[in-house]
C-alpha cells in the first residue's frame, strides 16, 4: 500500500459549487481517505455505477466535502472482482453506504459489516437490481432471510423491538433497543423499508423529466432535491439560469426550510406532551402552505423548480402578501419561542436529553441541522454559496450543546434567519426571465448539484448521455450520515425519551431508503 501523500486536487467538475473530480487507483483511494480524514474533510456520499457496457468496468465514487469545495474520487473496479477498499475506518458513515452499494450493484467493500442494508429479502442475494443487465420489469420472488441484530448480554438486559409498524401513522423504521429497566444501553436501527428503486427509475427517464422524480425522493425536501437535480443538469449542459429564477428558487428553498422547522417545533412540543405547541405551530405552517398553493401552485412546492428556471413567476401583486406573511410568521414565532423558553416542564424535557457531544458528531461526520446543534459549523449556504446565496450572505447558526434543546434552538434561529433571507429576496427580486431553455446534449457528460436543504446537504450526481437521457443519477440525503447519530444520542437515556430525541433529529426515511 502506498503511503505517498496524494494531491487532493483534480480537474474541475461541472457543479453549482466549486467541485473537483479525480480518478484514483485502489491505493490512492485508501491514501486519500486517510489524508482527507486527517484534514478534517467529511464524506458526503458514496455510490457505484455499472459501466460494463461502456468500458467493461464498474465504478465506485466517493464525494467529500472540504472547506469551500467538493471533491469526487472515482475508482474503476474490474468486472470480475468488483471490490474496493472500505472507507469505514476513517468515515463511519461509509458503512451503510457501502452495504447499500453492495445490495444494489454487488460492489463489495473489502471489510466491515456484511449484512444487507436495503435488501430486505425483496430480491435474491445474487441479484443486483441497479446493474444495467437487470431489467426493472422482471418480477422476482422475495427471499426473506434472517437479520442478526447485535445482542447485548448481561444481567437484566432485554430487547424491545419497535416498528417498522408503529402505533401512529408515521414512516416505517425498525428500532432495536437493548435496555436495563428503562435505560437504553444500545440502539440499533434497521432502515430500508421504503426502498422504491429510485435510482433504477431515473435511468428510464428523459433528462428533462428527472427533476419531477427528484422532487419525490423525499416529500418534505422537494425543493432541495429538485434544485439539486436541476443544478446538476444545468452544470452538465452548461445552461446559465437567470438571476430572477435563482432568487425565486432560493425563496422556495427558504420557505421549505421555514415550514419544516415550524412543523418540527410544534411536533417537539407535542412529543413532550404540550399539544398547545403543536396546534399553534401547525396553524402557522398551514397558513404558509396555503399561501404556497396560491403563489407557487403547490402546497409543498413540488415541481416548482424546473430545468432552466422556475415554473411560474411571482408577480408584483403577490410580493405584498408574501412580505405580510413573513411579518406575521415572525411575530407569532417570537411569541411562541418565549412560551417555549419559559415553560419549565418543556425545558426540563429538552435540556440534556439526547446529548450528542461535538466530538462524537465530528467523528461520525454529522451534517446539516443536527450537526450544527452539536458544534459542526457547516452550512453550504455559508461555506460554498451558490447563486444567489453569495449576495444574500446568510448567517450560520451554531450550538455546542448537542441536546434536544440545542436542536430546538437551532431551528428557532434558522427560522428567523430564513425569514430575513425571505424578506431580502422579495425586496430585491431582480427583473428578467424566469426560465431559459436547456441546450441539447452533445456528448456524454456529468454534473453535480449540491444544495443545503432544511435537513442538511442534499446532493445529486448526474451522468447524462445522448440523446438527452439519464445514464446514472445518484441522490443523497444527509439522513445517511445522521441516522447513526441517533444511536449515539439515545444511549444512556431512558426509553420514553426516545421519541423526543428521534423527533429532534427528524430524519428522512424515504430520502434515505431511496
Amino acid at each position: 500500500m502506498s503511503l505517498e501523500p496524494i494531491a487532493l486536487e483534480g480537474s474541475r467538475l461541472a457543479a453549482n459549487v466549486p467541485a473537483q473530480h479525480r480518478v484514483v487507483d485502489a491505493d490512492q483511494w485508501t491514501a486519500a481517505a486517510r489524508q482527507l480524514h486527517d484534514a478534517g474533510a467529511r464524506l458526503l456520499t458514496l455510490w457505484g455505477a455499472d459501466d460494463r457496457d461502456r468500458d467493461g468496468v464498474f465504478r465506485v465514487f466517493a464525494a467529500y466535502l472540504l472547506p469551500g469545495r467538493a471533491l469526487v474520487l472515482e475508482l474503476a473496479l474490474a468486472a470480475g472482482d468488483p471490490t474496493y477498499p472500505s472507507l469505514e475506518p476513517w468515515f463511519p458513515a461509509a458503512s451503510r453506504l457501502q452495504r447499500a452499494t453492495r445490495d444494489l450493484l454487488g460492489l463489495g467493500a473489502g471489510e466491515g459489516d456484511t449484512r444487507p442494508w436495503l435488501r430486505h429479502g425483496g430480491w435474491p442475494e445474487d441479484r443486483f437490481p441497479l446493474r444495467r443487465d437487470v431489467s426493472a420489469e422482471t418480477h422476482v420472488p422475495g427471499v426473506p432471510g434472517p437479520y442478526p441484530f447485535v445482542r447485548v448480554n448481561g444481567d437484566g438486559v432485554h430487547e424491545i423491538p419497535v416498528g417498522p409498524i408503529h402505533a401512529g401513522t408515521i414512516e416505517p423504521g425498525h428500532f432495536r433497543f437493548s435496555v436495563v429497566g428503562e435505560k437504553v444501553l444500545r440502539l440499533e436501527e434497521r432502515l430500508g423499508y421504503t426502498h422504491k428503486g429510485v435510482a433504477k427509475r431515473f435511468e428510464a427517464l428523459p433528462l428533462l423529466e428527472g427533476h419531477r422524480l427528484a422532487a419525490r425522493v423525499c416529500g418534505d425536501s422537494a425543493v432541495a432535491f429538485s434544485w439539486a437535480y436541476c443544478a446538476a443538469l444545468e452544470a452538465a449542459t452548461g445552461a446559465t439560469v437567470a438571476p430572477r429564477a435563482t432568487c425565486l428558487r432560493a425563496l422556495a428553498l427558504e420557505r421549505e426550510r421555514i415550514a419544516n422547522h415550524l412543523g418540527d417545533l410544534g411536533a417537539l412540543g407535542n412529543d413532550a406532551g404540550l399539544a398547545f405547541g403543536l396546534s399553534q405551530f401547525s396553524a402557522i405552517k398551514e397558513r404558509m402552505l396555503r399561501l404556497n398553493q396560491n403563489v407557487f401552485g403547490q402546497r409543498y412546492l413540488m415541481d416548482y423548480i424546473v430545468p432552466g428556471g422556475v415554473r411560474s413567476d411571482v408577480g408584483p401583486r403577490l410580493v405584498r402578501p408574501l412580505l405580510d406573511e413573513a411579518t406575521d410568521v415572525e411575530r407569532d414565532v417570537v411569541a411562541l419561542k418565549a412560551i417555549y423558553d419559559e415553560h419549565a416542564g418543556l425545558q426540563d424535557r429538552f435540556k440534556g436529553t439526547g446529548q450528542l457531544a461535538p466530538l462524537t458528531a465530528k467523528a461520525m461526520g454529522a451534517l446539516g441541522l443536527a450537526g450544527r446543534a452539536s458544534g459542526i459549523d457547516l452550512d453550504l449556504r455559508v461555506a460554498m454559496p451558490w447563486a444567489p446565496y453569495g449576495d444574500l450572505r446568510p448567517h450560520g447558526v451554531l450550538s455546542m450543546d448537542g441536546d434536544v434543546a440545542a436542536r430546538v434552538q437551532v431551528r428557532f434561529d434558522e427560522v428567523m434567519e430564513s425569514l430575513r433571507l425571505n424578506r431580502l429576496l422579495l425586496e430585491q427580486l431582480p427583473h428578467g426571465a424566469t426560465s431559459v431553455s436547456i441546450p441539447a446534449l452533445g456528448s456524454r457528460t456529468t454534473g453535480l448539484g449540491l444544495i443545503e436543504g432544511w435537513r442538511g446537504p442534499v446532493m445529486v450526481a448526474l451522468e447524462a448521455e445522448v440523446p438527452s437521457v439519464i445514464r446514472r443519477c445518484h441522490v443523497h440525503d444527509p439522513s445517511w450520515q445522521n441516522w447513526p447519530l441517533i444511536e449515539h444520542a439515545v444511549t444512556g437515556n431512558i426509553v420514553p425519551d426516545f421519541p423526543l430525541i428521534n423527533k429532534s433529529f427528524n430524519l428522512a426515511y424515504s430520502g434515505h431508503d431511496g
Binding site: E159, V162, A167, A275, F276
Partner: protein
C-alpha cells in the same frame, strides 16, 4: 354519564388548543363502533387476556355503586367502604397489568411495568387522602363522611382537607393516565403507560376497557366531590326533588372539574418518566401533612 364527562374534557382540551372540538357524545359513538367490530385476539392469548376487560369493567361499575355521587342512600355502600374502594382500583390495575403481560409483547410488559410503578406510589397517597376524610367523620364509609360534612351547619375551611384535596388531584392525574404522568392522546408507543397495556385489545374488549377508564375518571371526580365538595348530594332518603337537585349539582361540578382538568393538561408538558415518583411522593407527603394537621392541631 362517564363517557359524557370524557367527551366534555376532550372538548375543553380542543377548545383550549384552538382545535375544533369533537361532539360531546363522541365517546358513545366510539363505544358503538367498537362494539360492532370483530374482536381480534393474539394466537396465544389466554383466558386472562379475554377476561380482564370484564373484570375491570365490573370493578369500575361496583366502584361507581359505592361512590356517593347523587345520594348517600346507596344500596351497595353498606358492604364496602373507602378501603374497599381503593381495593377495587387495585384489582383493576392488577388485572390490566396481568393481561398486558399475558400477551407477551414488549409494549404490554413495558406498560405493565410502568403502571405498577405508578400504582404502588398512588395507592398509599389515595388511602391517606381517604383517611383524612375518615378521621373527621370517624368512619371509613363514604356516605357517612358526606353526611357528616353536610351536617355541619356552617362551611368551615379545614386546612387538613386543603392539603388532602391537593394530594387527591395529583393522584387523580396519575391514576387516570392524564398529563403530566401519561399522555392520553399520544401515538408514541415508547412513552405510553396506560395505552401501552391496551395496545393489543380490539373491538368489544377495547370498548369495555375504554368505558372502564372513563368510569374511573368519573369515579375519581365523584370521590373528590364527596370528600371535598359534597354540597347538593341528597342525604335524606330517595326523593325525586332531592335527586334532581343532586343531579344538577353534579353536572355543574363535573363541568367545572372537566374544564379545570383540560386547562391543566393544556398548559403542562409531560414529566420525564423518572420524575413521576417525585410528583407522587409529593402527593403522599401532602396527604400525610393533611393528616398531621388534623391530628395535631385538630383543625
Amino acid at each position: 354519564m362517564a363517557p359524557l364527562f370524557a367527551g366534555w374534557v376532550e372538548q375543553c382540551r380542543a377548545l383550549l388548543q384552538n382545535r375544533s372540538a369533537p361532539p360531546l357524545w363522541q365517546p358513545y359513538r366510539m363505544l358503538r363502533k367498537l362494539f360492532h367490530k370483530e374482536a381480534t385476539l393474539a394466537n396465544h392469548a389466554s383466558w386472562l387476556f379475554r377476561g380482564a376487560p370484564y373484570v375491570v369493567f365490573a370493578a369500575m361499575v361496583l366502584a361507581a355503586a359505592i361512590t356517593p355521587s347523587l345520594t348517600t342512600e346507596l344500596p351497595a355502600a353498606r358492604v364496602a367502604d373507602a378501603i374497599a374502594l381503593v381495593g377495587l382500583f387495585a384489582t383493576t390495575r392488577v388485572f390490566m397489568a396481568l393481561a398486558a403481560m399475558d400477551i407477551g409483547t414488549a409494549f404490554g410488559t413495558l406498560g405493565a411495568r410502568r403502571e405498577m410503578m405508578i400504582g404502588f406510589l398512588t395507592e398509599p397517597a389515595l388511602l391517606m387522602v381517604l383517611f383524612n376524610g375518615s378521621l373527621m367523620a370517624g368512619t371509613t364509609a363514604l356516605p357517612a363522611i358526606v353526611q357528616d360534612t353536610l351536617a355541619q351547619s356552617h362551611v368551615t375551611l379545614h386546612p387538613s382537607l386543603a392539603f388532602a384535596a391537593l394530594a387527591f388531584v395529583m393522584v387523580l392525574l396519575a391514576e387516570n393516565a392524564r398529563l403530566p404522568i401519561d399522555n392520553p392522546s399520544t401515538h408514541l408507543e415508547l412513552t405510553m403507560i396506560h395505552e401501552a397495556m391496551v395496545l393489543e385489545y380490539s373491538a368489544r374488549h377495547l370498548a369495555l376497557i375504554e368505558w372502564a377508564s372513563w368510569l374511573k375518571l368519573f369515579n375519581y371526580a365523584c370521590i373528590g366531590f364527596a370528600l371535598f365538595a359534597p354540597w347538593g348530594i341528597a342525604t335524606h332518603g330517595v326523593s325525586l326533588g332531592g335527586t334532581a337537585l343532586a343531579m344538577l349539582a353534579l353536572v355543574a361540578k363535573l363541568a367545572v372539574a372537566g374544564a379545570a382538568l383540560a386547562y391543566f393538561e393544556t398548559t403542562s408538558a409531560k414529566l420525564r418518566l423518572f420524575r413521576a415518583p417525585e410528583f407522587l411522593t409529593m402527593a403522599f407527603l401532602l396527604a400525610v401533612l393533611g393528616l398531621l394537621v388534623h391530628l395535631l392541631l385538630k383543625a
